[in-house]
Amino acid sequence: MTNGVTATLARPFEHIPDAWRQPLGLTLLIAAAVLFPLVHTNDADIDSMANAAAYAVLALGLNIVVGFAGLLDLGYAAFFAIGAYTYGILSSFQLQPEWSSFWEPFRILGLVHKMAADTGDGSVVRFTLSFWLALPLCAGFAAFWGVMFGAPTLRLRGDYLAIVTLGFGEIVPIVVRNWSDLTNGAAGLNGVSAPKLFGWSFGVNSTPYYYVAIALVALLIFISIRLRDSRIGRAWMAIREDEIAAGAMGVNRTKFKLLAFAIGAAFGGMTGVFYVAKLQTATPEMFGFPVSVMILVMIVFGGIGSVWGVVLGAFILQLLQSWWLEDLTGWLNVLGRAVHSDWLAHIDLVPSIELIFGFILVGMMLFRRQGLIPATRPQTALSFDQQHAEIRRGGFNDLKLQGLGGDVRTGALALEIKGVTVKFGGLTALNNVDLVVPNGGVVAVIGPNGSGKSTLFNLVTGLLDVGDGSIRFHGEEILGLPPHEILTKGIARTFQNLRLFPNLTVMENALIGQHARLTTGVLQAILRPPSTRAEEAAARVWAMEVFAIFGNRLTPRVGQMVAGLSYANRRRIEIARALASRPRILLLDEPTAGMNPAETLELAEQIKSLNMLGLTVLLIEHKLDVVTTLADTVYVLDHGEVIAQGTPAEVRRDEEVLRAYLGRNAQAAAGMAPAGMASVPLPTLGQ
């Protein structure tokens, strides 16, 4: 939000209360923007500001795609072009189809006029789409193309995405140039109508354009911030941070990627309408690769993902070109004359603008990557008290987790895996595996490294779609469903190698866990009706309740970036994130890996208490003490096959298990250990 701006501005005003700073800064900013053309009446400078504002809107649009959703788009100018040409064509003489009764309804709506043909005989259609109508229409049309261009790229990884979007960015101006019947080609459009307001045409007066541009910037800043701080924005950031984890946490990646493309494109299309209306012409050269790159430079310069940052970046870089460079050249020349330096007196910085941009770009990347206004808020360190507070373990007594699990031990089956086989090329990762998890039970899967445990989890949670067989969850076949649908059905998981969203806060991670349980759509996110506010508030309350399982391990850290936390805490966050989705079954992939014995014991107790509340658990674990404490049933996998199953005690005595784990020579030693004791864990081969 405005924190970055106001923090800098407010330093001399430290006596102003914190709560006042943001509204005050915002008010000042708005006042300055509104008053600018009244105070400074130079038409050209107002025009420069309007152009800069248009680029700010473009930067905001690209920021949604690149900054929020992390989809590197190198052809963003394509949408700018689509919006510009759509309005340009529908409000100029470019197309003049012959008049027929077909056009009559459009004439009544004011979309077309009847006009005498140039040739003298008959009448033709003159398109007169209103600017105000064109803004949403062309935004929608650009959004449509955003989806069309986005759809083929969904399966592509970041860099491939970059090259394909670059390709689309090249294709659009070429089509515009070559399809000259539609676009008037390289010569550029003629006679695009200026906007009209209550019958008064804006004409070439730059002040009304300035106000429209500023209003657009304000609107889109508002939309960007609202989206960012909503379920939608969190889903985008989850995709940006870790696509696989996002899917596993219930984010429909296809939908949200396309949504980012569409909304970003809509911003671009809207800017196109504005830009072409102001210029009253458009040429294909206005939308080339340099434009896409420059918009990217603006958001990098301002701060990727930072709403205020990208606006600032756009303004600075645009005004640098149209104002400051000429002035700077002038000052240097004056200085040169004063100090009798011939070189300085004649230096002209204007032709070097691109060189200067190059240095800005490299310099920013090397020395200030987060941009002028970083997207991530500075973290408040924990207070001494918080850091040294007594470590309260969570436990049964504190738990208020109403609505979690609730499945009682009815004997019915929660998860039923039958005859599942997975092959990677020649390698059989799982071979005809059968496994059942009773409702309310705790089932552990153990086995040496490479035995197929994680493959099994990936198959159950939909991260793999190559298996044969059947996986039923409460009687419903789920094999082959996408991850987000599986999570929605109530299967949540953690990952062996931790897949958190590192640059988001603890709270945001837990909120993303609830993604599938929340209903906020784009409109609700922007308008924030009371129902949405209530939903959001409830989501935060629920997250805090989930954190409370871990006592005060996480509660004081909810506002902190995950990346900065300890390993054990990150493990806990991952469990909390999974729990936040209100699962009916929790799949834990080595939840205690990397924890010390005390932490391990603590976590085992916490899992136990969750199970007591009725949560079904399927667990991969190497530490036998944990398995013994928690599990009702243990399955042992080796080379993709179930080699044993039974209670922990039974499995411990199974010879085949011992052989798989320890080899023959170790059998005797292992056999001496008293069954059920935690002191001799199975070797943690999975590490």
Binding site: A44, F93, G203, M286, V291, G330, F357
Partner: protein
């Protein structure tokens, strides 16, 4: 903002003082300064050409100041760059901003530019509202001066967009006439370079040559940033047309000429003023440049030494040969200076509106002959001169006057 403007004023003052101190112009301190605006694409791919254009204007303005062409007035150039790093080349939005800068500076009485039609389309309505005339040395798209679009490009009524260069509507078709009637070609292949100038020229050429009954065997478009035109030339070779017409500027033209020499050496090759100039000669080199036909949209004054003198003076001063558009820009400046002179002589105040009216009635002897304008602002004289490159080893290989041999005036449409 205030500091910015104050600094600009200070700067203007310093410039004038420095000019006096250096003794560059023998003017009286009481001289009224009038500004000529210039909107050129000084950044990006076209920067070098724009600099030549600017140099041409500087030649005319300095000469006027030194020769005290208009007693009581000193000319100053307000050069604005319409190229931006954002567009990587000329940017119509910046051109529009520049038009506003000129309009809002009351000392600017007339302008030169822009170079590109796309920029011109964005500037014309603003200039019209500001009643500020501009003379373009190089933008040839006919739309801007077409009466059909008057409502769009001169909303205030009077023409404000003048040209010291013929529009595509004449240069291409006249050359088509020449090739059909004088070279008697029966078939042709037409190429353009994707730019507004090139596409417009090639379109106009193609329309006329088809009317003349010459078979157009194909039409294609070159990517000026690409290097390899062998593919399209191979295709042309297979079609075996008698002639190749290229509408476009030197950037793609040079590469085309080089590769065409290898692949279709015996085909007649022709272009517009984009292939007329020292940079085309230098870049293409001989023997590849040999035999190309080029046109310029003005009469060729054989007996006149003005052009040769200008080329020499220009080369001496700037160290490079002038481009064709240096000449048209120089001429544009001459027209403006002459208009100011006539207004001043008539005793009326030198206002934009008076200067515009004076430009409209101009009859100015320039390097390209007598310049006068029709009612729309286009050149009244629509002569298109045809040249052919023939290597003349006795002269420098980049000497336009030696290497381009004047042939004839192309038959008018």
């Amino acid at each position: 903002m205030i500091t910015r403007r104050a600094a600009a004023r200070l700067l203007a003052g310093t410039t004038a003082t420095a000019a006096l101190g250096a003794g560059l112009s023998p003017v009286l301190a009481a001289d009224k300064v009038i500004k000529i605006g210039a909107d050129l694409s000084l950044t990006g791919a076209d920067a070098e050409g724009a600099t030549r254009v600017k140099d041409g204007i500087i030649m005319a303005v300095d000469a006027a100041n030194q020769g005290n062409a208009v007693p009581g007035y000193t000319f100053e150039l307000l050069t604005l760059d319409d190229g931006t790093a954002t567009a990587g080349q000329y940017d119509p939005a910046q051109a529009a901003t520049n038009a506003r800068k000129m309009v809002s500076d009351q000392d600017v009485v007339a302008a030169i530019g822009p170079q590109m039609s796309g920029a011109g389309k964005a500037m014309a309505p603003i200039l019209s509202q500001g009643d500020l005339a501009t003379i373009t040395p190089s933008s040839t798209n006919p739309d801007i001066t077409n009466p059909k679009f008057a409502e769009q490009y001169r909303p205030a009524g009077k023409p404000i967009y003048f040209r010291t260069v013929t529009t595509d509507a004449f240069q291409g078709p006249n050359m088509a006439n020449y090739m059909a009637e004088k070279l008697n070609i029966k078939s042709v292949y037409v190429l353009d370079d994707s730019g507004a100038y090139g596409v417009g020229l090639a379109d106009a050429y193609q329309a006329q040559i088809e009317k003349k009954g010459v078979k157009v065997l194909g039409r294609d478009r070159l990517d000026p940033k690409a290097a390899d035109y062998m593919t399209v030339l191979t295709k042309i070779k297979a079609l075996n047309p008698e002639a190749l017409y290229y509408g476009g500027v030197g950037q793609a033209g040079i590469k085309l000429a080089k590769q065409a020499y290898d692949i279709i050496p015996n085909t007649i090759k022709a272009g517009g003023d984009g292939v007329y100039g020292a940079s085309f000669l230098i870049g293409t080199g001989f023997p590849a440049a040999d035999g190309w036909y080029a046109t310029i949209a003005s009469p060729h004054l054989t007996a006149d030494t003005k052009a040769a003198n200008f080329v020499k003076a220009f080369t001496d001063r700037f160290g490079v040969a002038p481009e064709d558009y240096s000449i048209t820009a120089y001429d544009a400046a001459l027209v403006i200076i002459d208009a100011v002179k006539r207004v001043a002589a008539s005793g009326k105040p030198v206002t934009r509106s008076a200067v515009r009216d004076a430009i409209q009635t101009a009859k100015v002897p320039t390097i390209q002959g007598i310049v006068s304008f029709d009612a729309n602002g286009d050149l009244a004289d629509r002569t298109v001169s045809v040249f052919q490159i023939k290597k003349d080893t006795s002269a420098k290989l980049d000497d336009i006057s030696a290497q381009y041999h004047y042939i004839d005036v192309a038959p008018q449409v």
